[in-house]
Structures are given as C-alpha cells and as structure tokens.
C-alpha cells in the first residue's frame, strides 16, 4: 500500500483530503529506481481545476510512455493545507509517489491564466526550491514553464529555468535526452541551460538581457551567450492524428470541473476574432481524423467509465466532419446512457437539431457570444456574426422550446462608444421581444430568461489589439453601470438579468498580459505579502497588490492604459507565434477602419502560419496563399 506524505490527522482536518492522496484509476505508478528522469507536472491551482485540464493529461500520457521517465502530478495545496505545510515544514509532494518535488529532475508548470502567478511561487516555495532561477544549483529540479501565458513569459521569467513555447508533443524527448547527457556528463547547470537554449521552442530567460529606453519601453534584447537564437519560434504538431493522445486519462475520485471524457477534435481556429489570443497562437487550424476520433471516444469511455463525453476545440462548428462524428457518438452513447456535451457550437439549425437529439426534454440554456452589442463594434473585433444570424438562431431556439438564453459581451473594446454599449441592451431586448413574438401566449411557461454577462476586455499579446489601450478601472465600472441602466430602460427589462465581472482583477490581468521583466519583483513582493489564489475572487487582495507595485516603484498604468505606437518593441516580440507582426498590425489598422477580414476557410489572409505547411493552409480551394 502506498504511504502518504501527509499524516492522517492532517488529511482529516483539511477540506477534500482526496485532493492529496493520488492513486486514482489510470494514475501511472513506476519504480523510481528503474527510471532515469522523474518529472513533476504541475497545474498551479487546486486539484479540481488542474485535473480538468486536457494539456496536462496529454503530457502525462506522453511522458509516461517513455520508459525512462516517470511523470507525476502536482497541484496547489488549498489554503487550509498550505498553512499546515508551512507551519509543520512539510515539503510539497507529487501525488503518485508522494515523494517531495524537490527530489525530482524536472518541475513542469503549466501557466494557463495570468492570475495564477503567485501560485507558481507557492509551488516553488512549498517544494523548497529557490524562487529565483539564478539561485538554483545542480541539486535543484529544472523548472520549466509552458502553456498559453508563455506567449509573454517575461513577467514571470525569473522564476523559470526554461520556458517551452508552443505545443508540448514535439520537443520533450529531445530535452529529456539532453538532461540525461547533463547528468551523465557532470555538466554545470549553466552548460545544460545553454545547450537547452538550442532546442527549438525552448527559451532560457537567464541567457538574455533586456535594455530599456528612458520612456520605459524596450530598446533591445541581448543574448548573453554566443550562438543562442534571437527569436524563439513556437512548436507545433503538424499531424494531429499521428501524435500522443491520452486514451487512459486519470479518473479522479472527487468531482472535478471537467468530469468527463474530453475529445479534442481540432486545434486552432479559422475565425480570427481580433481580441482572441487563442485564435492566433494556435494557427493553423488542424483537424483530427474523424475515424481516429471515433475510436478514441469508445476507448476513452471504456477506460474511464465516465458517463459524459465532451468535444473540445475553439469552435466545434467549424470541424468539417462534425455531423458524421456526432451521428456516431449519438448512436454509441445512446446505447450506453452516456451524455454528450457540446460547448462552443454556433447556434443554428444544425446545432439545435443536434442538441435536441442529445439533450433530454428539460432544455438547458443556450449560449450566444456576440461579444459586442453593435454591428459596428462586431466589425471592429472581426466577430463574424450579424444581428440577423443571432436573431435567427434565437428564433429557432424559441421555436424548439428553449426559454433561457445566455449572452456574453465584452466591455472596454477599442473604439467603443456609449452608443455601442447601449446596443448591448437593445440586442437583449430584441431577443426577449422575439420570444414573445415567436411563442404564442398559450405555449409560454412564464417569461423568457435572458442572462447578459459582460467581461472587461483585456488586450493580449499576439493579437491585433496588442497595440490597444486597456480601459481604466473607472472606465470599466462606468461602462458596466451604463450597461445596467440601459438594460433597465428597455421594455423587456424584467426578462433580462445582467452580470458583470469585477474590475480590479481585470486591471491586474491586463498588467501581466502585456507586462515585462520588471513585474517579476512585483509578483514576488505580492507573494511575500501573502497574495495567493488571485484567480479566486474571495482570496484576491487588490490593496496588497497595489502596495506591492508602489513598493517596487512599478506603475501598473504603463502596461495597460497606453495605446502603443505601431513600432513599439513589445516584451514578447522575441517569440514567433507563427503569425507575423506585419499581419497583426495590418489587422489592427483594418480594425481601426472597421473593416472585417474573412476567415481562413473563405480566404487566406497571409498571417504567416502557412509556412508550417499543415492544416487548413494546405487544403486546396481556400483562395490564394499569400
């Protein structure tokens, strides 16, 4: 029987002790004496969140297929256990072996959202690993970061030895082999890092120096070692079918956020919404073969026993073989009493028909993401969705018996006017009115429920809006107030409920999104002052963050409220995400003129991703390749 790292009395006094015991179905156990490399893979948030992440499951499966590697999982101890571990000096451990993380060869941390940055420090701190990479020696694990936030790794780069930019399936084998050479050859850590810097996709922050101008922007980046690359290009899987996929994902004992089989049907998105980072950095769109997906679905359901399967992609409606895949799944799952969940579907006749076939008679709500209320604004953000399409989708839904509609909008988009915001209220009202026009009185069961939610727009690196100014907290709140009062002034206001996000955390997220290396000290200071779990609103302490900024002499406004000049050097410009800066700038200018850009299926717009020679870029009949 495995021995746990935590004593029984500790596990009995913390919330959900099952977070810390490992031993789940499909968790991989190996003999530590028989492997050359031990890899601790961490999602720096609580177990239920981390266990719901597909990327870690892919990496876990891939690494454990390597005979010489044992990959284990690590998540953030919740605040109750965090305090006990500090008080009793219990080192952070990996779930499978329950061994201390500091005894591992690698600590990999996936960085999925900006508000987890203090949790990275918690992981290092509880592990007993020096927080700053420069203080680590040969005996410390190699700390490597990955995930979408590494498309601007500079705000947290001091905490990492290595950053893996792009998709993990391609280069880990090479890196692990290099590590074995380092250990066998008795190299210094520095020599290992210098050699790792030559592997494509691997960024070694400590080997570069950044020189700033007087105005605070970047003058240049200087490589400190000869021969290391100036530009680091993202890694990507060219063939989505011939690669790793976890057919035996770990099945948690406790209910997690994503408690189902996740079938990734494609990577990337054709749509090019200008606010969306994922739509750019995962280009080009690559589909997975439909027959492979069918086989995966059956095997994964069999191997996990999950009662639900979900399709995963940025825009499932754009998957070319979706009808065939869904027909197959509906038939299979119907026999086995398995639910199918379909996020990210465009609402149209096809998707409503599918939902009718997979959902029971109690109709759940339908979700639309117009993102903006006015057509002018939707053109600026290149959201290829017109009011007619939204209203037609809603009409079909109401005719099909749905009575609850969720609508997602953003506030604070570039060039937004008060009129654009009022249009959010008008659109909600039109949809409500449409219900009353469509559904005869005798068939209604009470009012239609329209739930409008707004989030605050945060410009992200590698999007056309990376040049745009972010709104201040005051502007955000004024806009939320205007949205609320506009909705209250509509005829059908009683049918419309309005939710908005908190503004403080959005400002901080914006600082980190486009931040530079000077933020490392601020994150460190905030952590030392007790900030942790910032993504959880009940633990987010804005006042402590503000004092951390002022103690470090860093002005948060520098990163958010400025509109950038076309030629400003950005902290993330040394990364090549596949999409060229020239394309993004062209898109920014088109956006300012309110011009829409067609999607990748309609026409190639020359974003730069065609150089990978895969996915949609190689499909014929998609217009001229620029």
């Amino acid at each position: 029987m495995r021995k746990l790292a935590l004593r029984d009395d500790i596990l009995l006094q913390v919330e959900k002790p099952a977070r810390y015991i490992g031993g789940e179905v499909n968790a991989v156990m190996k003999d530590k004496e028989q492997v050359a490399v031990r890899f601790a893979m961490c999602f720096p948030d609580v177990y239920e969140i981390g266990m719901s992440h597909l990327g870690i499951q892919i990496i876990y499966d891939m690494m454990n297929q390597f005979e010489d590697v044992w990959c284990e999982r690590v998540y953030s101890p919740w605040v109750d256990l965090d305090q006990i571990m500090r008080k009793e000096k219990i080192p952070l451990f990996a779930l499978e072996s329950q061994d201390p993380v500091r005894d591992f060869d690698f600590l990999g941390i996936t960085i999925q959202y900006e508000m987890c940055y203090t949790n990275i420090l918690q992981i290092l701190d509880l592990s007993g690993i020096p927080l700053l990479a420069r203080d680590r020696g040969e005996q410390d694990p190699v700390v490597i970061g990955g995930g979408p936030c590494t498309y601007n790794p500079e705000p947290f780069c001091d905490f990492f030895d290595l950053i893996y930019v792009g998709e993990a399936e391609t280069r880990y084998r090479e890196l692990l082999d290099l590590y074995k050479e380092y250990k066998a050859g008795g190299w210094t850590r520095r020599k290992f890092l210098c050699r790792a810097a030559l592997i494509p996709g691997i960024y070694v922050p400590s080997l570069y120096e950044v020189i700033y101008r007087e105005d605070g922007t970047i003058r240049e980046r200087i490589p400190l070692e000869e021969g290391i690359p100036q530009i680091i290009e993202k890694e990507l899987v060219k063939d989505m079918t011939d690669t790793y996929y976890p057919l035996k994902p770990v099945v948690p004992f406790i209910q997690v956020t994503q408690d189902r089989v996740v079938l990734e049907i494609q990577r990337g998105c054709i749509r090019g919404c200008r606010f969306c980072q994922a739509g750019q950095i995962y280009r080009p769109v690559r589909e997975r073969d439909v027959d492979t997906l069918k086989r995966y679905a059956v095997e994964m359901l069999k191997n996990t026993g999950h009662e639900e399967i979900s399709l995963s992609s940025l825009s499932s409606s754009d998957y070319s073989r979706l009808p065939e895949l869904l027909d197959y799944l509906i038939e299979k799952c119907g026999q086995e009493k398995i639910n199918i969940s379909l996020p990210s579907l465009r609402i149209d006749a096809f998707s409503l028909d599918v939902m009718n076939r997979v959902q029971d008679v109690k109709k759940s709500s339908l979700t639309f993401a117009p993102e903006a209320g006015s057509q002018r604004m939707r053109d600026i953000i290149n959201k290829g969705l017109t009011e007619e399409v939204i209203l037609e989708g809603a009409r079909l839904a109401f005719e099909g018996g749905w009575t609850r509609v969720k609508l997602y909008f953003m506030l604070g988009l570039p060039m937004e006017t008060q009129e654009d915001i009022r249009e959010i209220a008008h659109l909600c009202n039109k949809i409500a009115a449409l219900f009353y026009d469509t559904v005869p009185r005798e068939k209604r069961n009470g009012r239609v429920q329209i739930v409008a939610s707004t989030s605050f727009f945060i410009p992200k690196p590698f999007t056309p809006f990376q040049w745009a100014a972010q709104n201040t907290k005051e502007q955000f709140l004024e806009k939320a107030y205007l949205t609320r009062t506009s909705i209250a002034g509509e005829l059908n206001q009683k049918s419309i409920k309005y939710n908005w996000h908190e503004a403080d955390a959005s400002v901080l997220e914006g600082v980190f999104a486009r931040g530079d290396r000077r933020l490392n000290q601020v994150i460190l200071r905030a952590y030392e002052k007790g900030c942790l779990y910032d993504a959880w609103s009940e633990y987010y302490r804005n006042d402590v963050w503000l004092s951390a900024f002022s103690e470090c002499g860093v002005d948060p406004d520098f990163y958010t409220v400025r509109e950038r000049a076309d030629d400003e050097v950005f902290p993330w410009d040394f990364l090549d995400c596949g999409v060229s800066r020239a394309f993004l700038l062209r898109e920014w200018h088109r956006s300012c003129r309110g011009e829409v850009t067609p999607n990748c299926k309609e026409r190639c717009n020359g974003c730069g991703a065609s150089r990978y020679g895969c996915g949609i870029c190689t499909e014929s009949g998609k217009g001229a390749q620029l």
Partner: protein
C-alpha cells in the same frame, strides 16, 4: 436480478467520502461492462444502493452494495471483472445473487462490528481497559444522543451488542453496535461517552476505526449481509 457485492476499503482510499465512493462504483461498473440495469425516465441512472455510509477516515472490510443487473454473469465472473477495474485500496470480496424478494442492503442493516485502535502517541488514562469493561458491565448506560429533532436520552447499553478489548497486537476496542436506520450508534460515540465518565477528553483524530462486518437480523440472530452458503 439483484446482486449483492461485498468490498473492503483500505489505505489512502479511506479519505474518499461516501458520495465519491458511489461515483467511483458507477464508473467502475461502466469500465467492467457488467450489464447493470438503469432506471426509467429522462435521466436514467444505474440501479445501485449502498448498505451503510462509512465515515471519511474509517477503513472497512465489510462494505456492501446491491446492484440490479439485466443478466447475471455468475458470481466469480462478476467478482473478477469488478476486481479488474478497481483502484488500489478497494477490493471486491464477495458477489452473491440475491433470492427474489430479498430486502435491499440498506434496509437490512441491523448491526455493525468495529475494531477501534488509538493513534500512536496518544497516552490514555490509567487502567482504562478495566474501566471500559466496568463501563460496559453496567445494567444501564444513560446518555444523551443528538438526533435530527434535538436531543434525547437513551440507554446506550441496549445498542451495544458486544464490547471487548483485544490486546493483540495492540489494544483495540472491538464493538458490535446497533446500525439500524433509526438507532445507529457510532463507535466513537461509545468511546467518547466512556472517557467522559473518566473526566478525560479524547484528543481530535485519536481513533482509528475499522469496520469489520455489517449484519442483518434473521430470526433474532445477527448474520452478515452476505451469508455463507
């Protein structure tokens, strides 16, 4: 057809709560391809019921659940299939096809036996073993029990069917207690009451509780939920 399954729960899995054990078995049964029956209706669920929830932190070698199957594969085949998809810590001990009309596991439970040990490092009051024996020897043990409706006074003695101390390999209190739906007595409750008479309070998490068996009543006798053939 109704099938009764006996399983154990040991090691780290003692930290999995009852609801999660249910979820665990729902998934395990899917993995095992046992032809379980589903309820009718828009939201079909597996027909499965558990005898008696086990508290988080307790271990057991006498857990039971009943499932309804659409075809019966044989007791050994079912046990092997289920055992093949278990996580370390839960072991399928027995599978038994129930005769038609048998009561369900939960309604059948009348008593449970436990072996309770003390976490290492806890120093107990002097002569506690003799005093516990004397405590149990009393004709009547009036105690106040908290119920859903409030507090009521009961005679604890009536709910303790057996109590003795086993000293091998370390002192353990073995108890057979009422576990019926109306009169369930937790083993920790008995020991708390006892130590209270010594004016001594059990430290938190002092007890390690292991459930040995669940019993039903058959003609005034207590017999395990799965009987020997």
């Amino acid at each position: 057809m109704k099938v009764r399954i006996k399983f154990s729960k040991n090691g780290p899995l003692k930290f999995i709560g009852h609801l999660d054990v249910m979820r665990y078995f729902q998934k395990a049964i899917r993995r095992s391809s046992i032809p379980i029956a589903y309820s009718e209706g828009f939201n079909p669920h597996q027909i499965m019921s558990f005898a008696s929830p086990l508290s988080v932190g307790h271990t057991s070698q006498g857990e039971y659940m009943d499932i309804e199957v659409t075809s019966f594969l044989g007791e050994d085949e079912m046990r092997e299939r289920l055992q093949g998809v278990m996580a370390e810590g839960i072991e399928i001990l027995k599978v038994r096809l129930l005769p038609a009309g048998a009561g369900n596991a939960m309604a059948s439970v009348a008593a449970a036996s436990y072996r309770v040990t003390f976490r290492p490092g806890i120093s107990l009051p002097d002569h506690w073993q003799e005093k516990l024996a004397a405590f149990y020897e009393q004709e009547e043990i009036p105690v106040v029990k908290k119920t859903k409706k409030g507090e009521k006074e009961i005679n604890l003695k009536e709910s303790i069917y057996d109590l003795h101390i086993d000293t091998n390999p370390c002192p353990a209190v073995c108890m057979l207690l009422n576990a019926s739906s109306g009169g369930n007595i937790r083993p920790s409750f008995v020991l708390e009451r006892f130590f209270a008479t010594l004016k001594w309070e059990l430290p938190p998490y002092a007890l390690m509780v292991h459930r040995l068996e669940l019993y039903r009543r058959e003609e005034e006798r207590l017999v395990p939920l799965i009987w020997e053939k």
